[in-house]
C-alpha cells in the first residue's frame, strides 16, 4: 500500500509504480502527466479487474442461468454496491450506470426535465459550466418553453452568490451546477446552493466529474437530488459513469432509452417498465466498465479520499506559486477554494504553442476552451493552458512543467 507508514500520507513515488503508463517515455523524456481533468491514468488493479473479467467471468448479465452469467451478474452488481457506498447513497437502486457525466445529465434533462418543465419555468446553471451541463438544458428548455438562466461568476472564478439569491424564485424548477469546475478549479459552495434551491422548491443536480476523485462526496449529507460523475476521471475506464438520483425522483421519471432489461413485460398492446435501477439501463451495459469502476473505487478508498485531498492541496499550493513565478504567466481561476486544476495564460504566447512546446519536454497539459466556451468568453481569452493534478503527481511534475514554460519563452519570445 503506497502510503508512507510514518505520516500516513501518500507516497507518490510508490503510487507511480502502480500505474504502468507512467513509466512511458515521451520523446525521450520522462512523462509528466498533468492532464488529469481530461482523463486519469489507471492502476494495475483496475487493469487486472477488467482483463480478469474477460478471462474468467465474461457472460451477459441478469438473465442467464449458467455459472458464468451468475459470476458476471454478481461482479456487476457488486460494482454498483461499491458505488453506492462510495457516495453514501441510500440504496443500490439509486445508482444508475450510464456512459459518463454527459449521458447522466442528458438523462435527467430528457426525462425529469421534459416532464417537470412547463412554459415560463426556469432552469438555473452557472457561467462556469461545461458544455455537458449547458446544452442538454438548452435542448429541453427549447422543447418545453422553459427559460435557462445563468448565475454569474466574479473575476476570481467564484459564483456571485448574491446574484444566485436574486435569480432563485418560485419558477425555478432545476438548479444544475458543477461541483468542481474543470476550467477554473473552483469548488462551489454546493451545500448552500442545495439548501437555498430546496427552499424555493427547486431540485438540484450536481456535476461531480471533477470532484469524486479528489475529495470525499456524500450525497446523503449534501442532500442533492441528482449527482453525476464519470469513471474515467476516477482512475477507471472510459465509457462508464454514474447517475445518482433520489429514489422517489427516479421512480417518477419516464424511461430514457427503451429496450431489453428496462422492461417488465412487452406485448404489442402495451409494455410495462422495470423497477429501479433497471428502468434506466436498457440493453447490455458496459459490464467490464462497471467492474473497472468498482476496482477504481476500491483503489481510492484504500488510499483514502481525505489523504488524496490533502496531498493534492499541498501540490496545488506548490504549483500555484511555481507557475506564478514564471514571467508573463497569469492564472485564470483564483477562487479561495480550489481543487487541483490550474488554468493559465502567458503574455504573448498562445496556449496551443505552450502545449506543443511543453509536450516536447514530456509534459502533458491541455490547451483550448476545455468545453467551457462561455468561461473563456467571460475572461476574454480564446483558450487557456491547463495543468490538472491527480494522486500520482508530485513536485517533479510541476518542476518539469515550469522548466518547459521557460523553454516556451526561449522559443517564442
Amino acid at each position: 500500500m503506497a502510503t508512507g507508514a510514518a505520516s500516513g500520507e501518500l507516497d507518490s513515488a510508490a503510487l507511480r509504480s502502480e500505474f504502468p503508463i507512467l513509466s512511458e517515455t515521451i520523446r525521450g523524456k520522462p512523462l509528466s502527466y498533468l492532464d488529469n481533468a481530461a482523463t486519469t491514468q489507471k492502476p494495475e488493479a483496475v487493469l487486472r479487474a477488467m482483463d480478469g473479467y474477460y478471462r474468467t467471468c465474461n457472460a451477459n448479465i441478469h438473465r442467464g442461468v449458467h455459472l458464468l452469467s451468475e459470476r458476471a451478474t454478481d461482479q456487476y452488481e457488486r460494482a454498483r454496491s461499491r458505488v453506492r457506498s462510495f457516495i453514501n447513497a441510500a440504496g443500490d437502486h439509486e445508482i444508475v450506470f450510464v456512459r459518463g457525466t454527459t449521458e447522466a445529465i442528458n438523462l435527467v434533462a430528457a426525462t425529469f426535465g421534459r416532464v417537470r418543465l412547463k412554459p415560463g419555468d426556469e432552469v438555473l446553471v452557472s457561467h462556469m459550466e461545461h458544455h455537458s451541463n449547458i446544452v442538454p438544458w438548452q435542448m429541453v428548455c427549447g422543447l418545453t418553453g422553459a427559460k435557462l438562466r445563468v448565475i454569474p461568476i466574479d473575476d476570481a472564478g467564484q459564483l456571485v452568490m448574491e446574484e444566485f439569491d436574486r435569480l432563485l424564485n418560485e419558477r425555478t424548477r432545476i438548479v444544475s451546477v458543477v461541483h468542481v469546475s474543470n476550467a477554473l478549479g473552483t469548488v462551489n459552495p454546493v451545500g448552500q446552493i442545495i439548501a437555498k434551491a430546496h427552499a424555493v422548491g427547486a431540485r438540484v443536480l450536481l456535476d461531480g466529474a471533477q470532484a469524486v476523485a479528489h475529495m470525499p462526496v456524500d450525497v446523503e449529507a449534501l442532500n442533492c437530488d441528482f449527482y453525476a460523475f464519470s469513471g474515467h476521471k476516477l482512475y477507471g475506464p472510459t465509457g462508464i459513469g454514474v447517475l445518482y438520483g433520489k429514489a422517489e425522483l427516479l421512480d417518477a421519471m419516464p424511461p430514457y432509452q427503451g429496450g431489453g432489461d428496462m422492461i417488465s413485460s412487452v406485448t404489442f398492446e402495451g409494455t410495462t417498465y422495470n423497477t429501479l435501477p433497471a428502468k434506466f439501463e436498457a440493453g447490455t451495459p458496459h459490464i467490464e466498465g462497471a467492474i473497472g469502476l468498482g476496482a477504481a473505487i476500491e483503489y481510492v478508498q484504500r488510499l483514502g479520499l481525505d489523504r488524496i485531498e490533502r496531498a493534492e492541496a499541498r501540490l496545488l499550493a506548490y504549483a500555484t506559486d511555481a507557475l506564478q513565478s514564471v514571467p508573463g504567466v497569469r492564472l485564470i481561476g483564483t477562487a479561495a477554494r480550489k481543487a487541483g486544476i490550474l488554468s493559465f495564460v502567458m503574455d504573448g504566447v498562445h496556449p496551443h504553442d505552450i502545449g506543443t512546446i511543453v509536450d516536447q519536454e514530456g509534459v502533458a497539459i491541455r490547451t483550448g476552451h476545455h468545453c467551457c466556451q462561455p468561461v473563456m468568453a467571460r475572461y476574454g481569452v480564446p483558450a487557456t493552458a491547463r495543468a490538472s493534478l491527480a494522486l500520482y503527481n508530485d513536485r517533479s511534475d510541476i518542476d518539469a512543467l515550469v522548466r518547459a514554460l521557460h523553454r516556451v519563452r526561449e522559443v517564442l519570445l
Partner: protein
C-alpha cells in the same frame, strides 16, 4: 524524431512576431472568417481582386504562432497570383502539411516550404491550414465563415 526547430523555424517565428499584411482592408472585394474551434484561432481574410488576379490580401484575428505565421506568409504568397494559381498553392500546401515527413515539398510553394515540418505535429495541421481554408472560402463565396471541424 520530430524536433521543435522543425516547427518553430526562424522564418515562422518572424512572421508570427511581425506579421505581414496584418490589419483590416477598407475596400475588400471578399471577406471570409475562419475558426479553429480546437484551440480558438480566429482569422479574417480580406481580398482585393482585379479581374481574376488577387491584387492584395490582408488578415486580422488572434491565434497561435503557427496560424499567424501561416496567414502572414499566405497573404504574401497569393499577392499577384490568379485565383487558379492560388487554388493550386492551397492544394500543394495542404498536401505538404498532411504528407509524409521527409517528402520533397512542391517547388511552386517556394518559401511556404518552411511549414513542411508541420506534418510531424498532427495536432497543428489545422493551425497551419486555417488561413488557406479561409482564403478558399473568400475566393468561392462572399462573407463566408469556415471552421476546421
Amino acid at each position: 524524431m520530430s524536433d521543435l526547430r522543425e516547427l518553430y523555424q526562424e522564418v515562422i517565428l518572424d512572421h508570427h512576431k511581425h506579421p505581414r499584411n496584418f490589419g483590416p482592408m477598407e475596400d475588400a472585394d471578399r471577406v471570409a472568417t475562419g475558426h479553429n474551434p480546437l484551440c480558438g484561432d480566429l482569422l479574417r481574410v480580406f481580398l482585393k481582386l482585379r479581374g481574376d488576379v488577387i491584387e492584395s490580401a490582408r488578415f486580422e484575428g488572434s491565434g497561435c504562432a503557427i496560424s499567424r505565421a501561416s496567414a502572414s506568409m499566405m497573404t504574401d504568397a497569393v499577392k499577384g497570383k490568379t485565383v487558379e494559381e492560388a487554388e493550386k498553392l492551397f492544394a500543394a500546401f495542404h498536401d505538404m502539411v498532411t504528407g509524409e515527413p521527409g517528402a520533397e515539398p512542391d517547388p511552386a510553394l517556394g518559401k511556404l516550404a518552411v511549414f513542411s515540418g508541420v506534418c510531424e505535429f498532427p495536432a497543428r495541421v489545422k493551425c497551419a491550414s486555417l488561413a488557406w481554408r479561409t482564403l478558399d472560402a473568400a475566393l468561392h463565396g462572399a462573407n463566408q465563415k469556415v471552421s476546421t471541424e
